[in-house]
Symmetry: C2
Subunit: 122 residues, 2 copies
Amino acid sequence: MEAKVEKYQNNGNCPVRQVLDRLGDKWSMLVLLILSEQGTLRFKAIQRSIGDISQKMLTVTLRTLEADGLVSRRQYAEIPPRVEYELTDLGQSLLPHINRLAAWAVQHMEEITQHRAAYPGR
Amino acid sequence: MEAKVEKYQNNGNCPVRQVLDRLGDKWSMLVLLILSEQGTLRFKAIQRSIGDISQKMLTVTLRTLEADGLVSRRQYAEIPPRVEYELTDLGQSLLPHINRLAAWAVQHMEEITQHRAAYPGR
DNA sequence: CAGTATCCTACGCGATACTG
DNA sequence: CAGTATCGCGTAGGATACTG
């Protein structure tokens, strides 16, 4: 008794679209993956781990993840400042899924690359 | 004995980043989800199912998915034209992961919404 | 170190019109 | 119906400089 056909319509009230819109930015999933693998990390450590993310975008990404409740931020009153990030419980509950996606990527990238190369036009 | 810390660096040879870059656009995951649930579909049917995707973007998205080998395209010599899309085996192998992500989204959206609302500033 | 504050640009995407 | 072809805009996100 469910309407199954149109359930992805209308951005406002579709959870799938809301979540995908968030994780679909350039850095969110990557930051989550890194926190998942390496546990608690400082700002600089995350940045180094990604390598080519700007300071601005790492800040923005972390703020958004924090606002969504996926990542927690803890700052210490020291000089120089130290700020550490880690996954919340909610974040931890999401991560197995992202990890499997990443594992799939590693496993099938070769195949995708070959498809692309064989695709007519380009 | 692996270098584990920096493995997400450098866009060129990191499968995780390559795949995430692809699925991270506005429509790819959604189209995959729909094809996964509803099987073989015509262009118009996909468009109706999403509702607010433009013709151009659906075309572009489907072309990319086809080039990557995730979706197959079959066109019939009829008038008016009929073109049908479905997941390839490679696409099918990816979809369980995306489906679990979507399920997680449905299950936890409420919680995320509350976090956002409670977040200071905005 | 861990941020903010500006400025600026590429390009993702939508709107519209046309074709086989 | 299932596309292509243009045009044009908004904004994600990079570069740079400054602060506590």
